[in-house]
């Protein structure tokens, strides 16, 4: 127990010379009379040192594995905070918003409608009007794209938008961008429900291939999280990162097979289009849902092109996992500088 400080022996304070500012320094005698456990006083007093020792242990190299484990343990320990932040973001998004939850459906719906308008225009030119299957395909891919774009848009500013929290409290910073992704995931889930109701009207039938949605959606979430983590980190250090992100958000859709199919470019073109890490995920979703195609089988596409091969799935999976793990690592390596740079 602590006593209200007062009556104990005065310790002899002896002056030490050499204080860098010319002030007198003092070193107190080692303490001997104290009933509570001692505060260990080690190291130099008197403020003599002007430069740290050039020791190796301080700048010892940290292994990737240690960092990754540390990040995982920390995130797990703070999982309830992740839930709280996600909840908060969802609440804020729909608080004082005139049409509330309708936004969750409205945004992807606009994307779908613009896709349909575009397909109709192309159809008039080529003379081949889009059928129900094409329309359903555009809708499925639009939803996936809307999720990616939405998460990236909210996530990029998630660190810089929480200046007070970052500089004043500690928690694994990755929670903020991840919460943005989870918030967007809820919106996407509402969109999926709406889509599930709409698809039968486009002649889409239930099939076992639809189970492919689960791994594909998982990979899409991993990839989106990875990109969002990198974008939010970059945005801390230079604010032009958000302009770059803005470009991706506005024009990325033209370089991604959302409104069109990858095989529309022919054999070589399709392969190039599929280099985009999201392309195989979106195309895979379309084929599995709309065409009921088993993704373990290759599929011939327009002209001589290949609409699908299992290789695409592996390619996308490697991208998604690398992006996720790599970004967590990058994030962890830089997050301790956030408070100084934000």
């Amino acid at each position: 127990m602590r006593t209200a400080v007062g009556i104990d022996t005065v310790k002899n304070a002896t002056p030490v010379s050499g204080h860098p500012r010319g002030l007198r320094g003092y070193v107190s005698e080692p303490m001997t009379t104290r009933e509570s456990s001692q505060i260990t006083l080690s190291g130099r007093t008197g403020a003599g040192a002007l430069a740290p020792p050039t020791d190796e242990q301080a700048s010892a190299k940290r292994s990737l594995w240690t960092d990754l484990r540390e990040q995982a343990v920390d995130l797990w320990a703070y999982r309830e905070l992740l839930v709280q932040f996600t909840r908060r973001d969802i609440r804020i998004r729909y608080k004082q918003a005139a049409i509330g939850v309708i936004w969750a459906v409205l945004t992807p719906l606009i994307v779908v409608l613009s896709g349909w308008v575009l397909r109709l225009a192309f159809g008039r030119l080529s003379g081949e009007m889009p059928n129900d299957q094409m329309m359903a395909g555009v809708a499925v891919k639009s939803l996936g794209w809307a999720f990616f774009v939405g998460a990236l848009a909210f996530g990029t500013a998630s660190i810089t938008g929480h200046l007070a929290l970052i500089t004043k409290t500690y928690f694994p910073r990755a929670i903020l961008p991840i919460a943005s992704v989870l918030t967007q995931l809820l919106d996407a889930a509402i969109g999926v429900a709406a889509l599930a109701i709409a698809l039968p009207f486009f002649g889409v039938e239930l099939s076992w291939a639809m189970l492919w949605v689960v791994p594909l959606a998982l990979l899409l979430v991993l990839f989106t999280t990875g990109v969002t983590l990198v974008a939010s980190t970059a945005n801390v250090f230079f604010r032009d990162a958000k302009y770059l992100v803005q470009i991706i958000l506005s024009f990325g859709i033209f370089f991604t097979p959302v409104f069109f199919n990858a095989d529309a470019f022919g054999a070589t073109g399709a392969r190039i289009a599929m280099l985009n890490p999201i392309a195989p995920l979106l195309e895979g979703l379309r084929l599995a849902i709309v065409q009921g195609h088993n993704l373990m089988q290759p599929l011939a596409g327009f002209a001589d092109s290949l609409a699908w091969t299992p290789g695409y799935l592996i390619y996308a999976a490697v991208w998604a996992v690398t992006a996720f793990v790599g970004s967590l690592l990058l994030f962890h390596r830089t997050e301790f500088d956030f408070a100084e740079y934000v």
Binding site: S37, P52, E80
Partner: protein
Amino acid sequence: MAPSTGGGIGHVELAHVWKKFHYGEVHNRLRDFIPALVRRALGRPKRSDALWEGEFWALRDVSFELNPGDALGIIGPNGAGKSTILRLLTRILRPTHGTCSARGRIGALIEVAAGFHPDLTGRENIYLQGAIMGMRQREIAQKFDEIVAFSGIEWFLDTPVKRYSSGMHARLGFSIAAHVDPDVLIIDEVLAVGDAAFQRKAFDRVNELVQRDIPVIVVSHQLDAIATFCTEAILLEAGAISFRGSPRDCIAAYLQRTQTEATQLGSTAILLDRLTVEPNDHAVSGETAHATVHCAIRDGQAPGSEAVGIRVRAVDTGEVMFETTTNHFHEALPTTGAFSVACELQLNVRPGMYIVECFVWNSMAGHERGTGLTAHMRVSGGDQFVGPVHMRPRVRVVSAVPS
């Protein structure tokens, strides 16, 4: 974040900690940044022992260790690195060199409302802020009523925090932070929250937390708080520990430093040589103390309209408690040579730390010619009264006389 086990596991250690900061803008060019980022991602930070242009050491070789039951006070002027130490302990920053570890859940009475979102209600913010401070959902739910009752905002629980007054905001933040059940407690100037009634409640709560068997770190400019709560103290100057010892010795050393900086006297005929206060350490509220100023008249000058003054300030607030000069007592000063001014002071003040200052007063000019020496004085006792002034009461109980 380990769940609290109710004390005993808390442990804090800083070992030869160095922390580097930058002046001004940093990394505004991609050219500098990308290589730095790549190096960091590869785990090869650049040699961090050298100082580049625009960098300085905010902390230099700071070491201390705290076990359960220890309470360390950190004092020092602004910019000495006090907050940097706290930010290292709360893991917001990492040391450039050395190691910094805090075991157990840290309860930080710092920036207690940092996580509040203005659009969320008080209820929602309690859960959010609690989670930021490391509490589990279940735990918050358990303590919810207690937190609300402590903050006294029951009526506004379902009002968005943006409509709160600043006092309500701070009170709610403090209430959440004060219910964390920490293994390590960190306190930074939070004792001035809300109105007088809440401040007393907050002080009692902090006192109760400090009495637990956990390591405590207190940073404050209210030296009284340091003296009350701590078992040890360090004085931090320009990022380095320049004194360690008991809180009282440390405060004395700190006050001595401030004194050396303040001894800039203008051209006065009176030379202030030495100031003593007796008793300076165990003065008792209501008793008398003797302050003696040893002075001399400078050769070839005359005191003229100059007088010697004495002033008493409270350390915690800096407020002037009392001030007088030889002039007020029509005491004439000698025209040459050394002399001393003896002043008897009735310490009708509440217990605490006080600074006694002496100065030269020019009654013609009507102003002070610079503050001279200072001495500190610790007043204890005073358990027979509450309030700022000792009114020297005489209390008798008179039994009713039947008529």
